[in-house]
């Protein structure tokens, strides 16, 4: 590596880290997380607490009273902490004959006028275990699920209680006899160096999936903030003919490598900031021991490989285009490649050993992100898959840098229309 390459890298790093885009990139991940947490908290705290008054037509004559008692119990519960956390359920008893559609229409009108939120019809034979009838719930708020779910659960619980009572079976005894035995999910027992056995730790979702996904996101956000800036940088130099001056002082390959290294340093800086912040947060919540040095080393290795691949891709697009408008069309395939891990990480989380997961994590542009995720998900992929992923990604990054170097050399001094893929292929094959 020449001194001039490092001078270009330092300049690229300085230019990028002084830009607004860098500050946005730096803040993107924490802001994204804070906003996500904030939205969750807001939606939890800002629950709709408007009263839900609903009419109940109980043709059994036995269910309204327990339903009313259950509602009172619910209402007491939602106000128990001093702050109301959910709507009050206020059942009102109504009655009309089974075939009286006029009465139903009248209740519907009351719902439309917001006098009622819904109305419920309980059929007369609801207590009969052989019944095929259904409880009817009418409302113009189909998206609100809490009330119908509560009504259904409460009515069914009371129906079961009444059926047990009619059959002279002790409900309490049945509950006792049918009580579930809960299961704990644990990791494996470990032996330390002295042979002593360490108890298995309970499975903790934050530890087993939250932190691996967090590490992958750090890599993804670092790359998304760094590599695409190269495209703007190359196009600016092309459009304003700066590249002609630079190529008068330095070879195109040195210039390109300088840009790649500068961009990689930007991504590394972002990843470091995110890692330090993430580790501090993890320690605060007692998960500091879940982030290992080996994980950081893998992150570094994959960041270097991803920087070369995506940096080379964005440099190629910049060199092949003469303005940002041309570049936007060519960016779509590159952005799809970059978003592939984003679109598929959830399926890998559910089945890290599936054929799809293995295949995706061996796809070179996705390997840095998805293999990192798989490595961090216990028990991790077999060594041959990690090795193969590294080899394929390294070969791809070398090929990408080689091709980008050829395209950069020719495209940098070209003006006018954007190069076609065919022309770029010709440049790559040229001596």
């Amino acid at each position: 590596m020449t001194n001039k390459t490092l001078i270009v890298a330092a300049s690229e790093f300085n230019t990028q880290t002084r830009s607004k885009a860098f500050m946005i990139g730096l803040l993107m991940m924490p802001v994204f997380m804070i906003v996500a947490m904030g939205v969750q908290k807001f939606t939890r705290d800002a629950t709709d607490v408007k009263d839900r008054t609903f009419a109940v037509v109980d043709r059994t004559g036995a269910l309204f009273a327990p339903l009313k008692a259950a509602a009172d119990e619910w209402n007491a519960g939602v106000k128990a902490g001093g702050t109301q956390t959910a709507p009050l359920f206020l059942p009102r008893q109504e009655s009309f004959e089974q075939g009286d559609d006029q009465a139903r229409a009248a209740l519907s009108d009351r719902v439309k006028r917001d006098e009622l939120f819904a109305f419920v019809e309980i059929p007369a034979d609801a207590l009969d275990p052989a019944t095929a009838s259904r409880v009817q719930y009418y409302s113009n708020h189909p998206a609100y699920r809490t009330l119908p779910a509560w009504v259904s659960n409460t009515i069914n619980r009371e129906i079961v209680n009444l059926r047990f009572r009619d059959a002279a079976i002790d409900r309490a005894l049945v509950s006792r006899l049918t009580r579930r035995v809960e299961m704990s999910e644990l990791g494996l027992l470990q032996r330390d160096t002295s042979g002593a056995i360490k108890a298995a730790a309970p499975v903790d979702k934050v530890r087993t999936t939250g932190i691996p996904v967090g590490m992958m996101m750090i890599l993804l956000f670092s790359m998304m903030s760094g590599a695409p800036q190269l495209l703007n940088s190359v196009i600016e130099e092309k459009m304003s003919r700066i590249s002609e001056v630079l190529i008068g002082s330095i070879t195109p390959f040195e210039l390109m490598m300088g840009k790649l290294l500068g961009s990689m340093a930007v991504s590394l800086l972002l990843a470091t900031v995110y890692l330090v912040g993430g580790t501090a947060v993890a320690r605060h919540y007692g998960y500091g021991d879940s982030i290992h040095l080996s994980d950081m080393a893998w992150l570094l290795v994959f960041l270097i490989l991803a920087s070369f691949i995506f940096g080379a891709i964005f440099i190629t697009i910049g060199a092949a285009c003469s303005d940002l408008k041309d570049a936007q069309g060519m960016m779509t395939p590159a952005m799809i490649l970059m978003m592939l891990p984003w679109m598929t990480w959830f399926s890998i989380l559910n089945a890290p050993e599936s054929k799809v997961s293995v295949g995706l994590s061996l796809f070179p542009t996705a390997t840095p992100f998805l293999m990192l995720l798989r490595i961090m998900l216990p028990p991790g992929p077999p060594g041959w898959q990690i090795g193969l992923g590294l080899v394929l990604t390294t070969v791809t990054s070398m090929a990408a840098v080689y091709a980008a170097g050829k395209i950069f050399r020719t495209g940098l001094l070209m003006q006018g229309k954007a190069a076609t893929f065919g022309e770029m292929w010709k440049w790559v094959r040229a001596d």
Partner: protein, 306 residues
């Protein structure tokens, strides 16, 4: 005298079109060498090959004694035809960057930067961003970027184009100052008067081929004393139909006439037609020579017929 640049039978083609055709040229060290020629004649292509931005298809190029033009890069300053600067960068940071890419340290560069900014009336502008500069100021910064590494060879592609007279004068003085320190200067221009006044040697390329190469005296001598400047009572009309007239360049109050015969015989013919106020036998100007070479054939015939 050694040659700062030597081209031998250099040819460059683009998609089958020959842009430069078997060009042979030697630029003496320490000289100011002017490249002239119409648009698209091959000037910029030649300069780009000298800068190793383009590779010749045939022939050999030596720059500062090295056949590998890349090897001399750090000793060559370059101002391209279409200027480019990083808009968001500060002037000093940009000049340091360009200078460091030529192998100079910041400690070496800073005094040179200050000296040049002061010389070009930009002292104290080092912290300004490029985007805040006027076009003239930007061009001066671009010039400083080309000379900040104290190059042995300075290549300037159309350095004076687009400049107002004041800035053009400042840049001309700067070029002469660089030459005084022993730097060889090669520049291309469309301004024949500038080439005549500044250049030790002038080279003209036309349709990829060398058509002129020498000092102004040598070039003019080649074209002889076949030109007279006249001012008469009847103006250009008095020249019509005179057998000695090959072509006329009419400036309104004065006409520049190229002759096919001896000037005194022409004077007698002209005096017989009108009062002659001014009659001067002269060499053709560089502008006239340029036009004679570069004017399309049909236009040349048209002029001759006038």
């Amino acid at each position: 005298m050694h040659s700062a640049i030597r081209l031998t039978d250099v040819t460059k083609r683009f998609d089958g079109v020959t842009a430069v055709d078997r060009l042979t040229l030697a630029v003496p060290g320490g000289s100011i060498y002017g490249f002239i020629g119409p648009n698209g004649s091959g000037k910029t292509t030649t300069l780009r090959m000298i800068m190793h931005l383009l590779l010749p298809d045939e022939g050999r190029i030596e720059v500062l004694g090295s056949a590998d033009t890349r090897a001399a890069r750090d000793r060559v300053g370059y101002l391209p035809e279409e200027r480019g600067l990083y808009k968001k960068m500060q002037v000093r940071r940009l000049l340091r960057y360009y200078g460091r890419l030529k192998g100079r340290s910041i400690a070496e560069l800073d005094p040179v930067i200050d000296e040049w900014l002061a010389r070009l009336g930009m002292a104290g502008w080092g912290d300004r961003k490029i985007e805040t500069l006027s076009k003239g100021m930007s061009q001066k910064v671009q010039f400083v970027a080309a000379v900040v590494s104290r190059p042995e060879l300075l290549i300037l592609d159309e350095p004076f184009s687009g400049l107002d007279p004041v800035n053009a004068e400042a840049l001309k003085d700067a070029v002469l100052e660089v030459r005084r320190h022993g730097t060889t200067v090669v520049f291309s221009t469309h301004d024949m008067a500038t080439a005549e006044r500044m250049c030790d040697r002038i080279f003209m390329i036309f349709k990829g081929r060398k058509v002129l190469d020498g000092t102004l005296d040598e070039i003019q001598a080649e074209y002889g004393f076949d030109t007279v400047r006249v001012r008469t009572a009847a103006g250009a009309a008095a020249l019509a139909g005179l057998p000695a007239v090959e072509s006329v360049n009419d400036y309104g109050q004065q006409q520049e006439v190229r002759l096919t015969s001896e000037p005194q015989a022409f004077l007698r013919q002209l005096a017989a037609r009108t009062d002659v106020y001014h009659f001067e036998v002269t060499r053709p100007s560089l502008h006239d020579i340029f036009v004679r070479i570069a004017r399309p054939p049909q236009e040349r015939e048209g002029v001759a017929a006038k």
